[in-house]
């Protein structure tokens, strides 16, 4: 990955916020609470990116059926992120591969990065919150 491009709105208070998602979408509250913070952060006009690693990649998988566990399928919310100008979604290549998944199994367009690229991206952030 090359140099970071200058931020579009280069006000002094714009910071790079990264949200790292590592857990399956159901069974714990992590994925949903991450999404809550992401949406709030987007309203502050910050530079927001989301990363999906380990079981976190399951959060983005198409066709989630949650009826049997009695929990609302909130995965369509990831499609709505674009409307909040949250368009930087990154997925860990190895995590996808280990689970037999590829980009076409996912709900939204993402950029697939290897571990080294992911590390570089993380090093460029001001704030990293992990879920």
């Amino acid at each position: 990955m090359n140099e970071v491009p200058p931020l579009a709105s280069s006000g002094p208070k714009v910071k790079r916020f990264m949200f790292v998602n590592r857990k399956a979408p159901y069974g714990t509250i992590y994925a949903l609470e991450s999404l809550e913070v992401v949406l709030i952060t987007a309203t502050f006009d910050q530079d927001v990116s989301l990363v999906f690693i380990d079981d976190g990649v399951y959060e983005l998988v198409k066709g989630q059926q949650t009826k049997a566990i009695g929990i609302k399928n909130f995965s369509p919310s990831y499609r709505a992120l674009e409307g909040y100008d949250v368009e930087k979604l990154y997925v860990d290549q190895a995590s996808l591969a280990e689970r037999g998944l590829s980009e076409k199994d996912l709900l939204v367009p993402v950029e697939v990065l290897d571990a080294q690229q992911m590390g570089q991206l993380m090093a460029q952030q001001d704030v990293i919150l992990s879920f």
């Binding site: 208070k13 910071k15 916020f17 509250i29 609470e33 809550e36 913070v37 709030i40 952060t41 309203t43 502050f44 910050q46 001001d126 704030v127 990293i128 919150l129 992990s130």
Partner: protein
């Protein structure tokens, strides 16, 4: 452990803020919070992230 947080808040005027959405989801309200803690919105977390020179998190 929570007593030590309360002591830290009292001795060093540390603001101990609890997220309202996360708290309510777990049945936690203002009335049951230990001294020194207060409930506020997620916006305050983001605002702190913008204003602080660094933000550190603990946990999994």
């Amino acid at each position: 452990m929570v007593n030590r947080w309360s002591a830290l808040a009292a001795d060093h005027r540390v603001d101990l803020v609890v997220c309202v959405a996360a708290a309510l989801r777990r049945g936690i309200k203002d009335e049951v919070l230990a001294p020194g803690f207060r409930i506020s919105g997620l916006g305050q977390l983001v605002d702190s992230g913008i204003k602080a020179d660094r933000l550190v998190t603990f946990g999994d």
